[in-house]
Amino acid sequence: MNHDSIIRQPLVVGGKTPTDVTADISRPILNKPSTSWRVGFVISFIFLLLLVWTIGYTVWTGIGVWNINKSVMWGWDITNFVFWVGIGHAGTLISAILLLFRQKWRMSINRSAEAMTIFAVMCAAIFPVFHMGRVWVAYWALPLPNSFGSLWANFQSPLLWDVFAISTYFSVSLLFWYLGLIPDIATIRDKIKTKAGKFWYRVFSMGWTGSTRTWARYEVVSLILAGLSTPLVLSVHTIVSTDFATSLVPGWHTTIFPPYFVAGAIFSGFGMVLTLLIVARKVMNYENYITIGHLEAMAKVVMLTGTMVGMAYITEFFVAWYSGVEYEQYAFINRATGPYWWAYWSMMFCNLVSPQVFWFKWARTTPWFIFMISIVVNVGMWFERFVIIVTSLHRDYLPSSWVMYSASWTEIGIFLGTFGLFFTCFFLFSKFLPVINMSELKTILKNRE
């Protein structure tokens, strides 16, 4: 029932046939890993070990090995948490909202974007768990029945909302991703030669036959999950933002946070997708599948959301002035001119100024340039969270408790370590699972016969 437009640019170039698609995309899985994959994996794995070590050190010795203090009680930990959660958002947006809007160009990138979501949420979850002073009783944050009488979680606390939001988000994203993988896993099952491979792909393909009835069910479930995911795109970061917005710390206590955080999350998510895919399409020779057109579309999203975020920054300033609250006013002046001015202006430059280059066609269509900007965006969004968390806390109400904060090597190590976890997962994903949704992609090929 596909009607190919004669006018529209093809979404997959290079005159690929369905056979080509299967061959191209399953090649990394069926062949031995390339040298570049091995090198990348080993480096990522070393960073993963760094994560294990730094977290182990923290849990063994105490949160004291971080440099957070009596006033800035959240530092890099929650900065990184929000950073990683934000990154996840692009995946959900691409797979859910773009699916509902029938944006077919998403088909080349949704698989990897969703994978990115899952890995990013995994990285994110590490921080709120291990920033707890007594991580061994972290489960107390869940409303579990217990033998202590009336002990129950505090449903007023945004941290509890976080627990629900993140766990829902993770499980729905994982389901959605896995569901989309089933037909492709079945394809691999049919092609793979090794015994172990045959066994595992058989298990995970869940007896996929490719019958019409199966496909029909598949489509329906996809739509349902897309429908479920859609509000999550908005809700997760909204709830993360309430961690700050419902508090009374000047600079946190702001009603603009929910939309501003969501825009920021999509912004940073697309930044990360661009970073990953520009490398992946080059290394894995997927230029025909992830085309310049894809990059351009995403660059436009980055520009749009970047501008939205920038507008939020400026609005915050206006509101601080307009509110007439001296603490609020000071908090914002302190952001821009206080001891952490460099973080603020880095954020402003990276998030508001740099995406504006995408007004130019050249900038939107030159992969190496987009790659550079995507890195800048990632850096900028990290700084945004740092600015919000640290500069608000380090000077709040009573000047006697004003402090400075800089991260310890353990905190830096944990952050770098989460990149290790993220890329280790990503490398494993690219080795063992099709990075592009083969079955969906075949539906948008121009020459299917």
Partner: protein, 1072 residues
């Protein structure tokens, strides 16, 4: 007729079998396998496979379960025979005397299960309550006294006597020392006992016994920080070598030249108590006026109404100017001085005017140790008629008697061979004398050198014998801090180590070894020898029998011990005869005047560490200096102008050179309020043999700070705190000081509110702005906060006007609540754990007034004139605004800050696990066991009073501040949980005390009285600035204070409804 039916159970019954009928008579029809079980036959091989598996399974599981728990070995000593007075869980209080310094305040010792855990002021002691003879008097104790309890549990105290550095036993040591003393006396060589100022009747008798036995022996007193100047001036002027009593509450005008009488000078608790009485504004009562002239910003200076930076080197000139002004009015002789002694704003002249107006109701004091300057002070007070009014020579102080000169004489005598045996009775001149090195060498020449130091300090290390003294809480003694006021010391714990109180050591060497007296209770109880009463108890009784008389002696003596004090009626004070002629001093004063551009170093004591004797006490290091908020170090305090001209910034170091002594790379603080042309440095630091906390070369522990004692320039009579002509240059490298507060100004926020006394008289709400509008809450007022609610509603009020910022409450809170000590590194990371902190805010006198009078303004002017300063000021003003011009003229507000127990607490809503909740008595409670450590509450606390346990501070070798060993842990208050790592903690309003009070009242079937429950901070506060109580009690003091117009809540506009109310600071800045 119903048919007769016979029922039968079985054939056996039916047939009436013999065996069956017999068995039926038994309780159990069948044989029980008892024998089998008893013989354990089942465990033998004939048991079935299933049984075997059952037993096997059970035993394996049982053994496994049992071995899962490693039963901790706990040392508990149960009472075999419970002492009559001890009930586990119920504290016992004893009266005693603080031995932390010679001031000897009366203390109340709280003991639990036989171990002292807290010291507080004894309300009956006039020293602790500030000469209040009324029954409502409240005694307090300073931070040093509070902290001294930890020294009892210092496991670095000597456990045995030392002979030439190695452990020995008392018998050997006594024999050798006695022999040596006899030999010396026989040979006619001099023997000296060097003690600190001592006013204990029994101890002095001990020493008299000693000197009586050895005719060549003499007793000299010597203090690390002495009051020689006052002693000698009074000797010259009045023929009395003593320190008078000062009554600050009777003075309408208090003028202090560098005397830190609220912090460190003579008897700070007593002075604070009496000072504050006239400082809390009440309608129809005049508030006293306090003027302070000083170089370093002292605690007293921060409380002054007017504080004038003064170059201490020129103090004599200013005193002379003041003297001359008053003499002019009173028709006395002038002191001829060539140099004009006037400070900016004619402050000397104005001070003179105010003094004259309040003659007989004023008090002039000086912290100088120069007898000549003290004579001018005496002269001024004499002309003003303050003697007999605010100064009392008849009911004088005995607290400090030592004169610096005596040590110089002794040193010369040792070097000339006149003295060959010295007993250092708890003094440490090798460390704290400026000629410490020479003294150490001289000790080497002695035939007999004995120290009674309780730890191996600098002097003890040099001595041949160390006979460790008990801690004062292990000793019997007495004291006479003021004429006619006796204090008693009684042991509250038997000696922890094999130590012996120094008096007994002296007696052992003079009248012979005293055998311990049998405890009168010993017959009734099973006790070993260690529990026998010290023989000094008997000795003390004989001394007191002479004083009290034999009649009914034991009862009266026991009453003295119970009260801790014996106070006689004060003598009537008479104005002493005075005939001194000061005209000769003029030329001397002119010779001392600082040259232009000369930098004077002013040595001072810190409120925490004082003279450094207790340098191994971590609480004193952790207590932030009230002004600089620096812990764990001393540092050079620089005026801004000097720092800028030398390019020195915070974090840099300086080298200072004075009289051949160089101190290199000393950290600096740019101290607002430091007079231009002066720098300050605290004494008491840089110990090399204090221990693991205070620094020890032997144990390879770095010294804490630098030793400033060598900088004392010994004058002929006394050691002057002013070191003239110091060279200051920028040092190498940087040094991070541990400060608990790094942002010094208040950014124009209204957290502290103040008004002048004149404004307050017109409007009691002056300076106390109305809360901002739009206070709206979505929550309902809880039941217990509504009108007419029964039950308690706890609240606190803190009078900013009374609070001097001394820090006694901080230490008291830490001790009461087992707050961990975290050390320098953690404080640099801003992780101090104190539940109660004192925020200190500087403000510049932006209204430009010094003393308001007829529109005289001194805005922009340096108060002290220094060479090149105006040019510098101009340059700075262009760069940074005019604020620098006022840098040495700052005002200070101290604001104690602890958990505000908000009614709508921001911390409570954000905790995901409900670990912090609100009680129905208005207390914000922390459930440590439930806390998972998200720290969200800490972020959301607008007062930043929540403290997180970053590490497990107890049992962590990185935090070895006496809480990490069995002995040190004995100081822990058993009523308060020791928090584990990873949980949040904060002020609980001393909930354990509230609970204790409620239970007591319940047991006695009455309601809780107002003031019955006192929080630790309130109990400790020498200024009575903290009041805690029940707001639902209409008659309570707290309810009255809540109605005071001066009351305000910090951050009222957040509508968190805090339970702590502050009362505005009122300054008497007008001329009086």
């Amino acid at each position: 007729m119903a048919p007769s039916v016979k029922y039968w159970k079985g054939e056996d019954e039916l047939l009436r079998d013999q065996a069956f009928t017999t068995s039926q008579k038994n309780e159990f029809a069948e044989d029980l396998p008892l024998q089998e079980v008893l013989e354990e036959s089942n465990f033998e091989l004939n048991s079935s496979r299933r049984d075997f598996l059952k037993y096997f399974g059970f035993s394996v599981t049982a053994v496994t379960l049992a071995s899962c728990f490693k039963a901790p070995i706990r040392n508990a000593v149960p009472y075999l025979v419970k002492p009559e007075e001890i009930t586990p869980g119920v504290p016992l209080y004893y009266s005693s005397t603080c031995g932390a310094c010679a001031t000897a305040c009366g203390v109340e010792v709280k003991t639990r299960e036989g171990r002292p855990i807290k010291l507080d002021g004894n309300s009956r002691s006039l020293v602790s309550n500030g000469n209040d003879r009324s029954p409502e008097a409240k005694g307090s104790l300073c931070a040093v006294g509070q902290a001294s309890i930890l020294s009892l549990y210092d496991n670095e105290r000597l456990a045995n006597p030392l002979k030439k550095g190695s452990e020995s036993d008392w018998t050997t040591i006594d024999a050798e020392i006695s022999k040596s003393l006899n030999d010396l006396a026989a040979a006619g060589s001099g023997i000296a006992i060097v003690s600190g100022s001592n006013h204990s009747p029994s101890t002095l008798r001990t020493i008299a016994d000693f000197t009586g036995k050895y005719p060549t022996a003499r007793h000299i007193m010597w203090d690390s920080v002495s009051y020689s100047g006052i002693l000698e001036a009074n000797e010259t002027d009045f023929g009395k070598k003593l320190i008078p009593s000062y009554y600050f509450d009777r003075a309408q005008v208090i003028v202090s030249f560098g005397a830190d009488f609220l912090g460190t000078w003579i008897s700070p608790v007593e002075f604070t108590k009496s000072y504050v009485r006239n400082r809390v504004p009440a309608q129809g009562k005049e508030m006293s006026k306090h003027i302070q002239f000083e170089s370093n910003l002292s605690l007293t200076g921060t409380n002054a109404d007017d504080r004038f930076p003064m170059k201490s080197g020129n103090e004599g000139i200013y005193l002379a100017a003041l003297y001359n002004k008053i003499a002019q009015a009173k028709g006395g002789k002038q002191i001829p001085v060539a140099t004009s002694g006037e400070l900016a704003g004619n402050s000397i002249a104005q001070t003179a005017e105010m003094l004259l107006k309040n003659a007989g109701k004023s008090l002039v004091i000086s912290g100088s140790n120069d007898a000549k300057l003290q004579m001018i002070v005496n002269g001024i007070n004499m002309m003003l008629g303050n003697y007999g009014q605010t100064i009392d020579l008849d009911n004088h102080s005995n607290q400090f008697k030592a004169v610096d000169r005596d040590m110089d004489t002794l040193l010369a005598d040792i070097n000339s061979g006149k003295v060959s045996g010295v007993i250092f009775y708890n003094v440490n001149p090798v460390y704290s004398h400026h000629q410490g090195k020479a003294i150490k060498e001289a000790i080497g020449k002695l035939k007999l050198s004995v120290s009674t130091a309780s730890s191996k300090d600098e002097t003890a290390s040099a001595c041949a014998y160390v006979c460790p003294d008990n801690h004062f809480l292990e000793s019997w003694s007495d004291a006479e801090p003021k004429a006619g006021q006796f204090h008693f010391t009684q042991p509250v714990i038997s000696p922890v180590f094999n130590t012996r109180q120094a008096q007994l050591s002296l007696l052992s060497w003079s009248v012979g070894v005293l055998s311990p007296e049998k405890d009168p209770m010993a017959d009734k109880q099973i006790m070993n020898q260690r529990f026998q009463t010290s023989p000094f108890y008997t000795y003390m009784q004989t001394v007191w029998q002479e004083k009290l008389g034999a009649e009914n002696f034991q009862t009266r003596f026991n009453q003295c011990l119970h009260d801790g004090v014996l106070t006689s009626e004060p003598k009537t004070t008479v104005v002493p005869a005075y005939a001194s002629d000061l005209t000769a001093i003029g030329s001397y004063l002119d010779s001392t005047v600082s040259k232009e551009g000369q930098i004077d170093l002013v040595l001072y004591q810190k409120v925490g560490l004082r003279d450094g004797a207790m340098a191994n006490n971590p609480w004193l290091h952790e207590l932030p200096d009230p002004m600089s908020k620096v812990c764990w170090d001393n540092y050079v305090t620089l005026p801004k102008s000097l720092a800028v001209s030398k390019g020195i910034e915070l974090g840099d170091t300086v080298n200072i050179k004075a009289g051949g002594i160089t101190l290199n790379n000393v950290p600096v603080i740019i101290q607002p309020g430091q007079a231009n042309g002066t720098i300050g440095l605290a004494l008491g630091y840089g110990r090399t043999a204090a221990g693991k906390v205070g620094g020890s070369t032997e144990k390879a522990v770095d010294t804490v700070g630098v030793n400033a004692y060598p900088l004392f320039q010994g004058t002929s009579s006394s050691r002057s705190f002013v070191v003239r002509g110091v060279e200051v240059s920028k040092g190498d490298g940087t040094y991070a000081l541990a400060q608990t507060q790094t942002h010094h100004t208040i950014e124009g926020r209204n957290h502290v509110r103040e008004a002048t006394f004149t404004d307050w008289k017109k409007n009691p709400k002056a300076g106390n702005d109305e809360p901002k509008p739009h206070m709206y809450t979505v929550w309902q007022t809880p039941e217990y906060r509504r009108k007419g609610a029964t039950g308690h509603l706890w609240a606190m009020a803190i009078d900013l006007n009374a609070c001097t910022g001394c820090g006694s409450c901080v230490v008291s809170c830490s001790i009461e609540n087992n707050v961990p000590i975290v050390g320098r590194k953690e404080i640099i990371l801003r992780r101090e754990m104190t539940w109660l902190r004192i925020d200190r805010y500087y403000s510049f006198s932006n209204d430009g007034t010094v003393i308001k009078k007829e529109n005289e303004h001194y805005e922009g002017a340096y108060l002290t004139k220094e060479k090149g300063l105006e040019a510098l000021d101009k340059e700075l003003s262009n760069k940074q605004g005019a604020a620098y011009a006022h840098y040495e003229h700052v005002k200070v507000v101290h604001q104690p800050m602890m958990c505000q127990h908000c009614g709508q607490a921001p911390c409570e809503t954000v905790c995901p696990v409900l670990a912090t909740t609100h009680s129905t008595e208005g207390i914000n409670q922390m459930t440590y066991n439930r806390c998972i450590g998200t720290k969200y509450c800490g972020n959301n606390c607008p007062y930043k009073v929540r403290r997180f346990n970053w590490y497990r501070y107890n049992n962590n070798s990185n935090f070895d501040y006496h809480f990490n060993n069995e002995l040190g842990k004995m100081v822990i208050n058993p009523d308060v949980t020791v928090r584990t790592r990873g949980v949040m903690e904060k002020c609980s309003f001393c909930i354990q005390k509230v609970q204790e009070g409620k239970l007591r009242a319940k047991r006695e079937k009455r309601s809780l009285n107002d003031g019955e429950v006192k929080t630790a901070c309130q109990r400790a506060c020498p200024a009575n600035a903290i009041v805690f109580g029940d707001l639902n009690d209409e008659q309570s003091e707290i309810t009255k204070l809540y109605r005071n117009e001066r009351g305000f809540h910090v951050l009222e506009e957040l509508n968190v409804q805090s339970s702590v109310k502050y009362l505005t600071k009122i300054r008497n800045t007008e001329t009086v």
